[in-house]
């Protein structure tokens, strides 16, 4: 795995409440790079996050919202955050339910700029 990607993902995982960060191939739902805590199923996160992003991406385009720039699934015990990355990838973060979304999002956007 690229050290550069690893470094970028590690910075995101330092945000309190973040359990893992991954770069995922958006079309295929396959892992490109990951930095995950023990117990987080990387291949499941990759496949499901990519699928969710595709579905909401189509709905957003149909609704005239333009391409999705940020996706946030909030659940009772956790959250999933997604930001598009270059080359058809998406940057995915799995976090606790009360994660500081603003901070996580900021780090995700910084990471994506560095990936480009």
């Amino acid at each position: 795995m690229s050290l550069r990607f690893q470094r970028l993902l590690d910075v995101i995982t330092r945000v309190r409440g973040v359990q893992g960060a991954m770069l995922v191939a958006g079309e295929d739902g396959l892992v490109v790079a990951e930095s995950l805590m023990e117990g987080v199923r990387g291949n499941a996160v990759a496949a499901l996050a990519a699928s969710l992003t595709k579905r909401f991406g189509r709905a957003a385009e149909a609704g005239g919202l333009g391409p999705v720039s940020f996706l946030h699934l909030q659940a009772t015990d956790g959250a999933l955050l997604v930001v598009p990355a270059p080359e058809g990838m998406v940057l995915v973060v799995v976090a606790d339910a009360d994660v500081n979304v603003g901070l996580a999002r900021l780090e995700m956007r910084r990471a994506v700029e560095e990936v480009a």
Partner: protein
């Protein structure tokens, strides 16, 4: 119209769950020799026979490449087209090694989703498979009769 059918009933429930979760358009569960145990989405027997034969052939030739590389058999293959993908996976059950051929649409599924739920399918098939029974030698006449009976079951209205 029911699109999922099984010659061996224990395959049906795991297959139905897999098709729903992975969003597969077409699926075959078969032995490495191409004998079909269950199918989803096919409407013609001729297509099932062709797909089973070709799928088994792809796996056999890939196994040969693996052997040349001193590699144990590959567990999965994926071919990605513009609008569709084809996934071939292998799993071990009490019934023996089984192959699963999946055709999925890129728009509604992905190789990641198919792989994710294939892992669950493999576990479910292994759990549901009956204990291995003594297999009598296969005669040509028996084979043709069994094939015709299987096709009749797979396409029963």
């Amino acid at each position: 119209m029911k699109l999922t059918r099984a010659v061996e009933p224990w395959v049906l429930e795991p297959l139905e769950r897999f098709v729903l979760e992975a969003g597969a358009r077409l699926t075959l569960v078969m032995t490495p020799s191409g004998q079909v145990l269950a199918q989803h989405g096919f409407t013609r027997a001729v297509d099932v026979m062709a797909a089973a034969a070709l799928g088994a052939g792809i796996v056999a030739s890939t196994a040969e490449i693996a052997r040349m590389m001193d590699e144990s058999t590959f567990h999965a293959l994926n071919h990605q087209g513009r609008r569709h993908g084809i996934f071939l996976g292998a799993c071990d059950t009490g019934r023996g090694r089984l192959l699963v051929l999946v055709v999925y649409a890129a728009e509604s599924s992905s190789v990641g989703l198919v792989q994710l739920f294939f892992e669950e399918l493999a576990v479910a098939l292994a759990a549901a498979a009956p204990a291995p029974a003594e297999q009598p030698p296969v005669l040509a006449a028996d084979f043709e009769r069994d094939l015709n009976e299987s096709l009749a079951t797979l396409f029963r209205p």
